[in-house]
Amino acid sequence: MKMELHVFKGGVHPPQSKHTKDCATVLMGVPSKVVIPMVQHIGAPCQPVVKKGDPVKVGQLIGDTEAFVSAPIYSSVSGTVTSVESRIISGSSPIVCVEIAPDGRQEVFEGVKPPVVDSQEAFLKAVRASGLTGLGGAGFPTHIKLNPPKETKVDTLIINAAECEPYITSDNRECIENTPAIVEGIRQVMKWTEIPRAIIGVEDNKPEAIKKLSEAISAIPEIKVCSLKSRYPQGAEKMLIFALTGRQVPPGKLPADAACIVMNVGSVSFLANYLKTGMPLIKKRLTVDGSAVKNPKNVEVLIGTSIQEVIDFCGGFSTEPSKIIMGGPMMGVALPSLEIPIIKNNNAILALDEKKAAIPEESPCIRCGRCVKACPMNLLPFELDRLVKANDFESIGQYNITDCIECGSCVYACPAKRLIVQSIRLGKDHLRRTVKK
């Protein structure tokens, strides 16, 4: 079923590079070790509840916290805890990590059983207990997202299967391989949050996914499948909401303020499985691709597996990698090491060779306006870049720098190869630090 489509303003068309879209997901086995960070979400870090030497089983709680914005963390393997210590995982400050040596037996923790859900409160507790955070990459604890303030009357559940970043096809595989779970997850969410209608948004470059989803919901009038024009960043939640409903999320506000809740398609499918089996979030499907990977594919890995082992599972490197990206090439994070573990909100690992990773040198802005045309948030990216580079932090607030979603469309489009997003990040950081004072 199709609906009248709006298109968001702006955006760019990078080459899709969806080499793995027909690659069925392959299960990767137990790795040699897992390192599970205590922060895999937006919000307060979890405290480890195990210590060195403790035996753990699959699905056993290893980290939790009383803080509100948080989600618990579970062991993905059975084995013995070998260390609980702070490590530098990515560019940020050190994070406490629990390292476990698997025994290979994958014994399931006795406490793993389907939750009893008989009320909205019980449902939200179950969502929290599952450890679910936004699997599309944002990592926001889902139990909070599904419990918006009473004043906001949410009328639409949007399921994000857009997957607009180049290379990534894991959501596409989710739609094709787990269609019943997706539909069941949507129904459960709608039931317990009392949202009357749901729309699944899929980019039109995924005809097989659209077909399977449409068939699966054909008997359910409250759920629709909508084909979206393939353009980056169609999967950004503000752009998705606008394309499907015509509503614009107000600045600084959340989708609930536009009467919508957006969930990644992998998140709803996981939730359905959790409600059925009680197994919390311990594994993740992700796309492994890039010019330096020998056998690009979609893999399902246990959380905590190192990137090195994931790449080894995909045939290793075909050539020396120059850049490793967690996520897609437009918004992904470049990683400093292969020893970094896979975490909950990781949906792709890209390894680029030297040629593909090369960043051209910046040249002067010629004021061509392509960044303005590309920006989906109605900003003036060239001006923000200019102001930050000139250290004029007074004016960046007036130019709505905080509206920037850092999608990278401006940088992609720029013929002078200006590092606009980098400047914007510096500007935002400056504002955060000066406001804190």
Partner: protein
Amino acid sequence: MDKMLQVSSSPHIRSEATTRRIMLDVLIALLPAAFAGIYFFGLNAALLIAVTVLSSVAFEYLMRKVLKRSNTISDLSAAVTGLLLALNLPPDLPVWMAIVGSLFAIVIVKQLFGGLGQNFVNPALAARAFLLVSYGTKMTTWTQPLAAEVDVISYATPLGVLKEGGELPGLLNMFLGRIGGSLGETSALALIIGGVYLLVRGVISWHIPVIYVGTVAVIALIAGANPFYYVLAGGLLLGAIFMATDYTTSPMTKKGVIIYALGCGALTMLFRLYTNMPEGVSYAILLMNVTVPLIDRYTKPKRFGGGARV
């Protein structure tokens, strides 16, 4: 693994577009007009083009050295300015005057204000205005095009005829370029071919040329004159397609561009109809260039999700 991994801010990919490629596209788009100028006005036109382009590039190279900044001639923007300036000059202008024009355009209007992307007016047009003031006689001495029908010693341009009186050349000649005028402005056909190339390549969008030319035509109609003459005569097509569309000196917002193009058209006709000058394109564009920061400030896009405009 021996080598270290690159860690830089997202995004990690770029489009193929480069400044140099854009400039190259402009040069290519100007070739038809340049060849038409050489065809109609002879070898001095070719000499003028070569000298202006080479001196522009040379001045940029030298000035960057003087300013102790990087060498930028490979981005081709100096070459573009040189070619645009040449196309704006009378075909028999003494070559040394063209060199003075290059110096003014590159050294003063462009490099002294900060180089590429920082000029506040169009360098080629500013240089033309400077030459007009400094060497008025030679800058308004026009040449009879080769294979023209009329045989005169000092030749008037169509706009000159419209102002002073005389016999107007036919519309076909005005379209092909068999008329008097600046080196690159006479052949509407050649200019339009170049314009279409720029549109197809995505270097310019249709808004400025169409709105600018459209405004001129409408005002001509309202004033009771023949709109075709006013569109084909003088430097309008050259100005609307190649000069007013210059990125650095035109607005950055969609609304702003419309206001700018309307202003260019209105001012052009104001000068053509109500002043002593036969031509108004150069001054119209220069004056609108100067208003661009103001236009940009007042046409900022509406904030996503509502909220007051800045």
